[in-house]
């Protein structure tokens, strides 16, 4: 045990590791904040730089970038309505309306503190319950992924704005867009119209930037004369009362984040969406209605996506299975350094495990420091005149999209979706459900078909499967309850409209 503490504190004591973690976290925040620059990409690039280094400094830098990057996406989501990364999509839903009310500083402050709390919950889970959580992650069957995707899709209900029908249309459109490209099971081209350009599918980060960023800029350009929104920056650090009020929600959302992060193939983006949906369902009296700047709408996804970081490390360190795209890259890095991820890693090289845990904790402390500084400067961005802000968003969107894979085609996609999104908004359709569909559609498709194969294509056996494990039964019960609750609310709403 004393050894473990020593390894845990290694990066806190060693000045170069301390500096690398700080640098990584700082850089991560800004990489995450710029739409298109993704954490996965940043980590992939860093790995090549850290090639000749020892493994500890390399891991320190990567942990910092990962922690900072997952959080950084919230900045642009709140200030510009462009989620810096898919993990910040849910944050934009209420963060941006908060900024529109002049509360950008408060939104970012909350996002920072809750991200740090979520991050620590993830680390705690990694340190104390990694084997148990990886067992849970293993027990999640394809049919459970289907239920998770469906639960996520229920969010369409709250993202639809004025018309549920329009929201469902947009969600369905998103699912179809998400299915474009080679079918992953049969390699059959779907909706590609015989072109190779569509074989790889529609780049959904480009679509996300277009739908959120460009369409918003175009909407703002319709009224360039409106005065900019004055931002209140007197209280950046959230008051104690607000923290206490949101703490239960933070812990619940973090738990969702840890488990979803530990599932292979799902990361911070889906964790944040599910946590947002759970919050919308469970919080009785939000500070404002969800979608109109509820603090809970920022707290839930931000705690969940940072908790998912610790979650994603769990299957990587215990089983050698990547929990998300970033940990897949880290596994590659460990191989390059001659280490073999898997359960033996914890037995043969326990120092690496405790070093990682301690280092992630350190990165979260730096996140708190860097996250809470510079907010005043950032919020000035939201105070810029619309005639300046809209072109700025356009430029950022183009640069960010090009940076994804240096592809001018992606920029055209992004602009196309931006213009399409503008017209959708003009006619009262919301763009949120489209992006949601694009993310969850492929997950739903693959998990349903895998579940059917393991049920020998027998629908009865497929349904019986839900009685076979407590995870399946529990998730199915949550889905049914959510549907029942929504139906009940709709029915009650029709009888006596809630003001």
């Amino acid at each position: 045990m004393p050894d473990a503490i020593g390894y845990f504190l290694l990066s806190w004591i060693d000045p170069s590791l301390l500096a690398l973690t700080a640098l990584g976290t700082f850089a991560g925040i800004y990489i995450g904040a710029i739409p298109g620059l993704s954490v996965t990409m940043a980590v992939a690039i860093l790995i090549s730089f850290t090639f000749t280094w020892d493994v500890n400094p390399a891991l320190a830098l990567i942990a910092g970038v990962y922690t900072g990057g997952v959080y950084g996406g919230s900045r642009s989501a709140v200030l510009l309505n462009i989620p810096g990364a898919p993990a910040a999509i849910a944050t934009a839903l209420d963060g941006y309306p908060m900024a529109q009310r002049g509360e950008a500083g408060r939104a970012i402050g909350l996002a920072t503190v809750m991200s740090v709390i979520g991050g620590f919950v993830g680390i705690l889970a990694l340190a104390l319950a990694a084997p148990a959580i990886s067992d849970i992650a293993l027990a999640v069957a394809p049919r459970d992924y289907l239920v998770l995707a469906l639960l996520g899709l229920l969010l369409v209900g709250s993202l639809s704005g004025e018309s549920l029908a329009k929201g469902i249309f947009c969600g369905a459109l998103g699912v179809v867009l998400g299915l474009v490209g080679l079918d992953q099971m049969t390699a059959e081209p779907r909706f590609t119209f015989g072109t190779t350009a569509l074989l790889g599918g529609i780049p959904y980060v480009a679509a996300m930037i277009g739908f959120f960023g460009v369409s918003e800029a175009l909407v703002q350009l319709r009224r360039p004369d409106l005065p900019p929104i004055r931002q209140k920056v007197d209280r950046i650090v959230p008051p104690w009362g607000a923290l206490r009020r949101h703490l239960p929600l933070t812990l619940r959302s973090s738990a969702i984040g840890v488990v979803v992060g530990a599932l292979p193939g799902t990361g911070g983006d889906i964790a944040a969406l599910l946590a947002y949906d759970a919050a919308r369902r469970s919080v009785k009296n939000p500070t404002h209605p969800f979608g109109q700047g509820a603090e809970e709408g920022v707290v839930a996804p931000e705690s969940a996506n940072n908790a998912a970081v610790g979650g994603a490390y769990i299957p990587m360190l215990t089983l050698g299975i990547p929990g998300d795209a970033v940990t897949a890259v880290i596994i590659g890095a460990l191989f390059i350094h001659g280490l073999k991820p898997g359960p033996m890693l914890m037995i043969e090289t326990p120092h690496l495990f405790w070093f990682t845990v301690g280092n992630l904790a350190l990165a979260n402390i730096f996140l708190l420091v860097f996250g809470l500084t510079g907010i005043r400067l950032f919020t000035r961005l939201a105070e810029a005149p619309r005639a300046l802000l809209a072109p700025l968003i356009l430029v950022l969107s183009v640069v960010g999209t090009y940076a994804i894979q240096n592809s001018a085609t992606d920029v055209l996609w992004m602009l196309g979706f931006g213009i399409f999104g503008y017209f959708l908004k003009l006619y009262g359709f919301e763009v949120g459900p489209v992006v949601l569909g694009m993310i969850l559609g492929p997950l739903m498709d693959a998990s349903y078909r895998r579940a059917m194969i393991s049920a020998a294509d027998d629908p009865a056996e497929f349904l019986m499967g839900f009685g076979g494990s407590w995870i399946s039964a529990g998730l199915a019960a949550v889905l049914v309850a959510a549907l029942a609750q929504a139906t009940w609310r709709a029915w009650r709403g029709r009888r006596a409209p809630v003001p």
Partner: protein
């Protein structure tokens, strides 16, 4: 051109963004290279044989970062950089069964500064099943056969864990035993189809995108077996919850002498994929020769060979002509089966 750049120790490798800051913001590099090229043209023929890259060499990896192809490319790049006297940067261009990355290299300038880290999917399988493939094998000039990769079968607990036992089990339960692969038309799917055809097995295939979900389902027991590359197979085996029962290579791996190959029991049943470096066709022979020399030296490095072997990858080598011959043999090996399977991309 001289070997002068060797004096400066190059930075090992940059990542997928390699084209952003340095090259686009500071085009000075390429402008500086122009007079150098003029100088090269003026030199007598023997000097031309000493071709050297004038700017960083890019290796396009048609897979996302982190996988075996990417790790191999990065290990190679690290060793090649000092030998070439230039940075060797990795550019990940994943997607569409490697078509996107391959097409980028097929269309790149044939000046010796761009190579593809191809796998069997790109140049053995795709040309045989692709109807509208935007590249042909003739668009590439082979540089080096980097490595050979046998597949392995790993099974969950509860499934017979010897090769013969497993095969008997599948035959006794037709259509019931599941095996995971990376999607129809992927190399491991086709390798599985070969095994099924040769051994007359009726097993249920399940397609996955990437390895993580497959590993998860195998370890969770919802999938009976996976036929995967060594890196993934060894990783699941290390978890202690699944076992590798056999490999599809020509002989046992030197580091795993107790794990059998199909070929021992069913002679001729071999299914391997490969990694190789290829330049765009019409790359000057002098450039190909220089790149081959550097890459072959890198692939012969003992640490690199050991790192690859840890992932079930056997480093290869040889001349561009050897690689060309290998590619022809592989295409011949798979063509009849793929015609029968009737998969089109």
């Amino acid at each position: 051109m001289s070997d002068a750049p060797l004096a400066r120790r190059p930075r090992p490798v940059a990542g997928s963004l390699q084209r952003t800051p340095e090259e686009t913001v500071r085009p000075v590099l390429s402008r500086r290279a122009l007079p150098a090229l003029g100088l090269a043209a003026a030199l007598p023929a023997p000097a031309l044989a000493q071709w050297n890259p004038s700017r960083p060499v890019t290796i396009v990896v048609p897979f996302p970062p982190g996988g075996s192809t990417d790790v191999t490319a990065r290990l190679m790049a690290e060793k090649m950089a000092p030998l070439l006297g230039q940075n060797v940067v990795i550019d990940n261009k994943p997607g569409a069964q490697t078509v996107i990355g391959a097409e980028a290299v097929a269309r790149a300038a044939p000046d010796g500064h761009t190579m593809l880290m191809s796998s069997g999917t790109t140049l053995t399988i795709n040309p045989l099943i692709g109807r509208n493939l935007p590249y042909r094998p003739a668009d590439f000039a082979p540089v080096l056969h980097v490595a050979t990769l046998p597949f392995c079968i790993a099974v969950r607990p509860g499934i017979p864990n010897t090769l013969e036992g497993f095969v008997a089990h599948v035959r006794a339960n037709p259509g019931k035993v599941t095996w995971g692969h990376n999607g129809r038309g992927s190399f491991n799917h086709i390798a599985g189809a070969l095994i099924a055809e040769r051994l007359n097995l009726d097993w249920q295939d399940v397609g996955y995108r990437g390895d993580a979900h497959q590993m998860n389902d195998l370890l969770a027991g919802t999938l009976d077996s996976i036929l995967v590359g060594g890196a993934t197979g060894l990783q699941v085996a290390r978890s202690g919850r699944a076992k590798i029962i056999g490999w599809t290579g020509e002989s046992r791996l030197p580091n795993l002498p107790d794990q059998p190959v199909f070929h021992e029991i069913w002679p001729g049943l071999v299914a391997i994929t490969w990694f190789g470096l290829l330049a765009p066709a019409r790359t000057p022979p002098a450039a190909v020769a220089r790149l081959n020399a550097a890459a072959a030296a890198a692939a012969a490095d003992p640490t690199l060979r050991e790192r690859l072997l840890d992932q079930g990858i056997l480093a290869a080598g040889g001349t561009p002509a050897d690689f060309q011959a290998f590619l022809a043999r592989e295409a011949e090996r798979w063509a009849p089966l793929l015609r029968r399977l009737d998969i089109t991309l």
